[in-house]
């Protein structure tokens, strides 16, 4: 094989194995958020029983900074990974963060894609790129503060009133000192 063909063949092989890695990557992300009907019921019961007034997020706007990408919703795992590896962001933290926000906006018509931001409140950051402002004037709580599985979080989306236009869905994860999520709250806001 001459040099040119050999290089050309090599490029094809690289693309092939890269494609394989990408394919499994998307699959892995999809598997993480599989729906299961049994946990859905638990989630729904909780919404019904817990008073949602006590855990309002204040003040009227929150400004967050972090990683942002337009992604298919099932790829959220990869954006989390991206977020976790974002060393400049984490170095900019003044102290251990108490909350991490996940904002889904500009949802596609089929609710499969969104602009997703995973970030911290800029109050806790010494420096940040472009912050995203979340208007918290009007929102409905989808899930009250509690510990949830991935599945429960996904199922919360079923509580959204799809007859209205969704402005954003917001997940607020409370963190302990080691950065692990201790509880989560989910909100939706309509236009």
């Amino acid at each position: 094989m001459n040099l040119f063909s050999a290089i050309f063949t090599s490029v094809i092989i690289v693309v092939l194995f890269w494609g394989l890695a990408l394919f499994q990557g998307n699959n892995a992300a999809a598997q993480e958020i599989n729906l299961s009907p049994s946990t859905q019921i638990i989630a729904r019961n909780k919404v019904a029983t817990i008073d949602n007034k006590s855990d309002k997020i204040a003040p009227d706007t929150i400004r967050i900074a972090g990683v942002r990408k337009r992604i298919p919703l099932h790829n959220i795992g990869q954006l989390w990974q991206h977020f976790n590896q974002h060393s400049t962001l984490h170095q900019a933290l003044k102290k251990a963060p108490q909350k991490v926000y996940v904002l889904y906006s500009a949802l596609s018509n089929n609710y499969q894609q969104a602009d997703v931001v995973i970030g911290y409140d800029i109050i806790s950051l010494s420096q940040f790129d472009k912050p995203y402002t979340i208007d918290t004037h009007q929102y409905t709580e989808l899930l009250p503060v509690d510990k949830y599985t991935e599945t429960q979080l996904t199922n919360a989306w079923k509580e959204i009133d799809y007859s209205k236009k969704v402005a954003y869905v917001l997940e607020v994860h409370a963190l302990n000192l080691s950065g692990k999520t201790t509880s989560t709250q989910v909100f939706v806001s309509y236009n």
């Binding site: 094989m1 050999a6 890269w18 992300a29 974002h86 060393s87």
Partner: protein, 296 residues
Amino acid sequence: MELLTQLFTPNEIWGLEAWIDDWFFVIAIGLFIVECLRYVVKKQFTKNFFGDSVANFVTLGMFILIVAVVAATYAGIFLYTYNHFRITDLPLNGWSILCCIVIADLAYYWEHRFLHKNGFGWATHTVHHSSPHFNISVAYRHGPLDWFFPLFFHLPLALLGFHPFIIFLAEIVVQVFQTLLHTETIKKLPRPIEAIFNTPSHHRVHHATNKQYLDKNYAGIFIIWDKMFGTFAQENEPVTYGVYPRLNSVNPLKVFFSGYLTLINRLWRAPTWGYRLNLLVKSPTWAWQEEQKQKK
């Protein structure tokens, strides 16, 4: 399957890499001792063999010192590229690692072929080839810039979205696989293995000075690349190891810098600037043949 999709943190990958690198060295030393005993039994344990092996470990020491100085920069370049320019996000899991190893092995093939095909790359890689012996300690015989060239051949993987630590892990796997190939103890492995993988037999050919074996078998893990790209040769006759011109020294400093000394010498004596350029971009075999012509 769980094992392949389970997500790792970058630190875990880094730990795995360091673990493989360290423990492999321990295993290699053990195997080297077995090799030495075998040479003693065969009455081939010569003073030159001993000196050459000592030189190998001294060059390894010098190489490690250089790497210690440049490692942070090397890793920094990968991390910067990954953080700013990657075009996809691949998860940190077993699947990504396996795919990365295959691609890194192919990248290694091209890097290795590159090192053999121009004077600049050969100046460092010749160190690895200049021993007239062939044993595990030769695997650890590195040249001063052996860490430098992999950068260009593996950095594109960071652009593709492989996390740098996965790339480093893959580089280490390709590297340690080859370590075991540097031995005369194993003649031939079962046929299917010889067909797919690089083996001691294939790699002896790579280190040979026999004419038909020059610039053959560049493979790291998979000999398939050589077979595909026409750089494969089968070991059919006994090989003699080393380089042209012969080094004839076990002085570690001479061994370590011989490639650059030869290159500078050749550049100094070159008749024209065109010849100088050729010394850098053409294969060292070309330079050797030119010199033989001039002697006649």
